[in-house]
């Protein structure tokens, strides 16, 4: 379809510009998709947690509450943005931007379905890591610029926590790299082709668990949400944010959640690969289609991990701050280091589907 569109554009535009326009269209479409996903993730969150707690959740706006996210967005758009008089107003306004830009821009290297990725760069994984490490500035600056104790405490807590879990995430990704031998996210997915038994989630199970839980902690979600722990520091770093400035932080947080879900499926669950790939007896039946790699599989996996995020929030009580730090430093980092060494042994003994190395 992209090729047809490019041919169509090529009739009106000279050589490099048809490509440029096409890319811009793709990027805008992807960003709109992400934003819509965020909108419906908020609805899903309220519905899912509602049902888990024997409530119905929002059901007034539109059929079954289906238009609730739009009502929320319009409300937030129309609310006044308050810039507190003792804050640093420039940084106060810039901080939400610093949160949203990395959260959206990381999507550039995520392969969505076979042969489609907006920026097919070699160092894709490094790009992801570099951009996600920028996300901490939005929170830190928001906390500092607000000039409120609650905000500052929330920002400091959140930064120290993000920093601790980023290391565990990095080590977990090194394990993925050892198995795939490439930094390109498309290649990492290809390395897991051939059904569920080749997924890294099986062979690197401890790393998979560490990565996903670290992802929950990185996004400051329950049970690791001490950065906004409302019983202690009101709302943490965004205590003074209102209207659209708050909405942008909210958007960034949820875009990051979806990103973590997508990255977990890419790194450990084969992205767009089907879990039934390589099941011979499916061929020739009506079920053959489910063995094909497709965007649908990717979406299913993302939806599953998103559900886990909501499930965790409904299930677990909040961790205490020293417990969070202990989990990050004293449990996850040793586990990942040990598993990297184990993986070295697996590579030497040619255990695992990737046994081509050495």
């Amino acid at each position: 379809m992209a090729n047809q569109l490019q041919q169509l554009l090529g009739q009106f535009l000279p050589e490099p510009f048809d490509w440029l326009v096409l890319t811009v269209l793709q990027i805008v479409a992807l960003i709109i998709c992400v934003i819509l996903c965020v909108a419906y993730l908020t609805l899903a969150e309220r519905k899912v947690i509602g049902y888990m707690q024997s409530r119905i959740g929002p059901n007034r706006v539109g059929p079954g509450g289906f238009l609730q996210p739009f009502a929320d967005v319009i409300k937030l758009m129309l609310k006044e943005v308050i810039v507190p008089n003792r804050s640093n107003s420039f940084l106060f306004v810039v901080a939400p931007l610093l949160a949203i830009v990395p959260a959206l821009a990381t999507w550039a290297v995520i392969p969505l379905f076979p042969g489609f990725v907006i920026a097919d760069i070699n160092a894709g994984l490094l790009y992801v890591l570099a951009l996600t490490s920028l996300g901490v500035y939005g929170i830190l600056l928001a906390g500092w610029a607000t000039n409120s104790k609650y905000a500052l405490l929330g920002a400091m807590r959140s930064a120290a926590q993000i920093v601790a879990y980023e290391i565990a995430m990095g080590f977990a990704l090194v394990g993925v790299l050892m198995a795939s031998g490439s930094l390109n996210l498309g290649d990492i997915i290809e390395a897991q082709s051939g059904g569920v038994s080749n997924w890294f989630a099986i062979w690197l199970f401890p790393l998979f668990i560490v990565y996903f839980i670290s992802g929950v902690a990185e996004t400051n979600r329950a049970p690791f949400d001490v950065a906004e722990g409302e019983s202690e520091i009101v709302a943490g770093f965004h205590v003074e944010y209102s209207g659209i400035a708050f909405a942008v932080f909210f958007l960034a947080e949820y875009a990051n959640i979806i990103l973590i879900a997508a990255l977990t499926s890419v790194m450990f669950c084969g992205g767009w690969e089907s879990p039934f790939a390589g099941w011979e007896f499916l061929q020739g039946t009506v079920f053959a289609v489910i063995a094909n790699p497709s965007l649908a599989w990717f979406a299913v996996k993302i939806a599953f991990f998103l559900f886990c995020f909501l499930w965790f929030r409904a299930t677990f009580p909040r961790y205490r701050y020293d417990q969070i730090m202990r989990l990050g430093w004293k449990i996850f980092i040793p586990v990942t280091i040990v598993w990297i060494v184990v993986e070295c042994g697996m590579l030497l003994l040619k255990i695992g589907p990737w046994g081509t190395v050495l």
Binding site: N88, N122, A130, L131, L134, A155, V163, L183
Partner: protein, 200 residues
């Protein structure tokens, strides 16, 4: 052509950001300018096809080192720091250091020019060329001693950081998890058999 436009755009941004680091009175603005400096230099390195180094520059310097800077600045009393900041006294030492750095750069460029075809533009690499892979191929074989030395430097950094900043605060009540987990019923509960006190 497009490459040159991008290069000059990022170079201008880099110079402006670098000036911002030096000139701005508010420490947090200076730190954020420095962040912008690193990001734009990463973009310029990327133009040199050093994609691994560019990404690591952002990851390590912006993602880690500058976070430490922000921590430090956030904990200062900004108002008094801003007021007491005087630009002038630091100008001369700064200029001297700058001049020395510039001289060093010029010398390096001059020396390199002797033997190397520095004016020739290197051929662009094909799309599947992986900078990271090429680096990995030599770093752990040819330069293995330097690499192991790096491990000891990092070890030194860990030890130094702990020695310099660790302070035991007296009177802390700590949670000992292994003790908590290994506690048994007998340690906590004493069952006392006693006669009824009255038969009423």
């Amino acid at each position: 052509m497009a490459e040159q436009i991008i290069f000059y755009a990022f170079s201008c941004l880099l110079i402006i950001a670098a000036l911002g680091v030096v000139v701005s009175r508010n420490p947090i603005n200076a730190v954020m300018s420095l962040v912008l400096c690193f990001v734009t230099s990463a973009a310029i390195w990327l133009l040199l096809e050093a994609e691994f180094l560019a990404m690591i520059l952002v990851l390590v310097y912006v993602g880690a080192v500058m976070v430490l800077f922000v921590f430090v600045v956030m904990m200062q009393d900004i108002e008094s720091a801003t007021l007491s900041a005087r630009f002038a006294p630091n100008v001369w030492p700064g200029l001297v250091v700058g001049a020395i750095s510039l001289a060093e750069l010029l010398v390096v460029v001059w020396v390199r020019r002797e033997g190397l075809p520095i004016a020739a533009v290197p051929e662009p690499h094909p799309a599947d060329y992986s900078n990271t892979l090429e680096l990995g191929k030599i770093l752990y074989t040819q330069y293995v001693y330097a690499f192991e030395l790096a491990a000891f430097l990092l070890l030194l950094a860990i030890v130094a950081a702990i020695v310099l900043t660790m302070r035991e605060r007296p009177g802390l009540k700590k949670q000992n998890i292994s003790q908590q987990v290994s506690v048994r019923k007998e340690d906590r509960v004493r069952v006392v058999k006693m006669e009824p006190e009255s038969d009423a």
